[in-house]
Symmetry: C2
Subunit: 446 residues, 2 copies
């Protein structure tokens, strides 16, 4: 009796070529994080339930993978923020602040599995944590990080939409809408892209928003991407809610922060088309207190936000009295990858695990390995075909392995200190000398 080799639904397990494409994206993200001097962090996947759930409740608690082992009540992490909070609180005395860390790892949520939703998925997070205070420069640095990543990923145009929660909170305060109701309104605004204007009005009605309040809310909402000139959004607010009125102070603080960040983005030389002010961006309702970001792929709006985050006042209040403000962002890589493949933005047909495959056509392995070693030293990934079969079979193997280039080494090549380099797509081949192998990379990348 054989056991069926099955994988749980909601758990991504890719084909080899897909995995290479997935890792390429992951590595681009990590390399960018590292370029900004973020520290790596790698926290356990299993934690004490009481630690992970110090803050969580509701949906999170229902979705969590929780179990007992020995006397311990354990859970699998459901995000990378709670472990960061624990880590910073635990290592407070040994860390240097501002503490910049990235973490790329799997998290677990036992959601109802559905197309494009995963129970085990990668998050790629960065956060900057300050001790008591944290410069707004980091808020714009994170926008720069997003810009660098999505430029390099080469998956089409993208737009980073930026807002400041103080603007929203100040705005609703002015309308006399209290905190609880604000949360409700923001929740409705958050999904405004997915529902019709009628449903929107209907939902606002239902929670008790008056017609006058609604007028102002919709006016604000409509300032979103309609203006190519994003200053228009802010000018509208400054006109409508002048500084001279003290009741507008929170809103104006938000505007000032946002303008500071926009100015800094200009200094950074990020092309203007890649970012915009969007006054309707709300994000994590209880969590963010200042800057918030979302990023969307311009040609694929249905994919939704591919990278989001923002600023929070206090990272670790459930573990420590220290005031630790932070700003962070997260890329949900598993879902993103799934959607990029679905939308055919990522092609995986011509992916190969090696830059070149060597087909030995003689027994002089001393020479074959000499060729292999010089290629490896020059950062070329090499597969050697060890099949004890004829030339045709070896070519077939190279083809199935998607190798664009092969190197053929027979007696003649050994005797002449050469190899034959063949382009499997064009069919072209040429003889190159052993001494030219060190610079092969330029030839095969042309």
């Amino acid at each position: 009796m054989k056991t069926e080799p099955k994988t749980l639904s909601g758990f991504m397990e890719l084909y080899p070529n897909e995995q290479i494409a997935f890792d390429n994206i992951k590595n681009t993200i990590i390399d960018t994080y590292k370029k900004y001097g973020f520290y790596p962090l790698d926290t356990p996947i299993i934690e004490y339930s009481e630690v992970l759930l110090a803050k969580a409740g509701g949906e999170t608690e229902k979705q969590i993978y929780r179990f007992e082992k020995g006397d311990n009540d354990l859970s699998l992490r459901f995000d990378l923020t709670v472990p960061l909070a624990k880590y910073v609180a635990r290592r407070y005395n040994e860390l240097v602040f501002p503490f910049k860390r990235y973490q790329v790892g799997k998290v677990f949520r036992g959601e109802r599995p559905q197309k494009g939703r995963f129970r085990e998925f990668y998050q790629c997070d960065i956060d900057v944590i300050g001790d008591e205070e944290l410069s707004l420069k980091y808020d714009s640095e994170l926008v720069n990080v997003i810009y660098d990543i999505f430029s390099k990923l080469n998956i089409g145009d993208f737009k980073i939409r930026i807002n400041n929660r103080k603007i929203l909170n100040g705005f609703f305060g002015r309308l006399g809408i209290n905190k609880e109701l604000t949360a409700e309104v923001l929740r409705i605004i958050d999904k405004s892209e997915k529902i019709s204007r009628e449903s929107l009005i209907d939902e606002l009605d239902k929670i008790g928003i008056t017609e006058m309040q609604r007028f102002d809310i919709l006016n604000l909402m409509d300032r979103r991407l309609i203006n190519p000139d994003m200053e228009e959004s802010l000018n509208y607010l400054k006109r409508e809610y002048p500084k001279t009125n003290k009741d507008n102070s929170l809103l104006n603080e938000g505007i000032e922060e946002l303008e500071t960040i926009l100015n800094d983005l200009k200094s950074r030389g990020i092309p203007r088309k890649y970012y915009a002010v969007d006054l309707t961006i709300a994000r994590g309702l209880d969590y963010y207190t200042g800057t918030v970001y979302e990023t969307s792929l311009v040609d694929y709006p249905s994919i939704g936000s591919v990278c989001s985050g923002g600023r929070y006042e206090n990272l670790a209040e459930f573990y420590t009295d220290k005031k630790l403000p932070g700003v962070g962002l997260s890329i949900g890589l598993t879902r993103l990858f799934y959607q990029l493949v679905e939308a055919n933005i990522i092609k995986i047909d011509n992916v190969s695990s090696s830059d070149v495959m060597i087909l030995p056509m003689c027994d002089n392995y001393e020479y074959i390995y000499k060729v292999n070693n010089i290629l490896k030293e020059n950062n070329i990934k090499v597969n050697i075909c060890y099949l004890d079969k004829g030339f045709k079979q070896k070519m077939k193997y190279a083809n199935r392995m998607n190798n664009k280039y092969i190197i053929i080494i027979g007696e003649d090549e050994v005797n002449n200190n050469t190899v034959v380099l063949k382009n499997m797509i064009s069919g072209n081949q040429m003889t190159i000398s052993f001494n030219e192998l060190a610079s092969l990379k330029e030839k095969i990348l042309e």
Copy 2:
């Protein structure tokens, strides 16, 4: 009431500088695996218990993290071999064989925690899986991989010890020791490094080994590293167990395989001091059927094997009828890292998350970011100090962040299109022009 931010014992959670050192090792391993054209693989951490435990029993089953979620009986993976077997059986029709894959990931075993033992730890595995057959060239390719990795890690001399299970099995068969008893003897031999010769004899006695059998066993054992010339070991066996006697055929098959591999290692140009035949290496008793390897650090024998593996006849017999022979190896990275730090082989005091830190001493961020961008483009990791404090405080921050190099940018530098580069260790500083920044890497690596 605050929750104590604690981490489970037996779960590694490193300081930022340690994590950088850890990741450097991990990346060296992965980069080497990739250079040989291995495919990446990333299987779920959670699997159906029946799938993971199709083969396991005894100790493994006791140690496993197993729990129910909904109607499912789930377990966390305890190694990367069982998931590979599942994957290959599941994807048999879509894979190209020989299938070379690497996987680097966490596995979980609820062992009694003790110094240097972890419940969550990284394994870094490679395996080559054949369909029905697999060239011995892969057995030696893996030795080459080990050699490349440990040379690059720069953690001192190492020795790859190689044996072939057919030699051991043939040898014990000749002595009239049956399979069950062989397993017992091998288990004792496996720990022969850790116990005295007297205890060894005592233990062999206890399981019923006769004095004559013991004589031959100890004779074989003593062929281990005593001979710098490893052919001596094989010549001893060939002399004692000549081919002419058919009863010696399994043993001689093992010798032939081992000699084939040794010849191939010679062709590969791996310096002789890095590998040796060790006839006492047994490894996974039920699993390996041919070549077996262990690797030890010459100056730190107490660390034990840091990389081991071997050849097996059938990867996935619990899931499929297909005969899938393979050869693989594994590095237990978490334990290795722990031991390298304990033994002071890895230094983490001078590790930094960035190559250079920019200290802005003026407000011209347009210029500061221009400098930052040119450095990033040239693969230099840059932290910018955004502290709103004086020069002294900024210097202190750079010092605490272990930055060996800082770049100071004040009004003068902006006006002259230069920066000041300061070596924090020597105290030397020099003014360099903006145009020289692209080649800064050479300056700071000198």
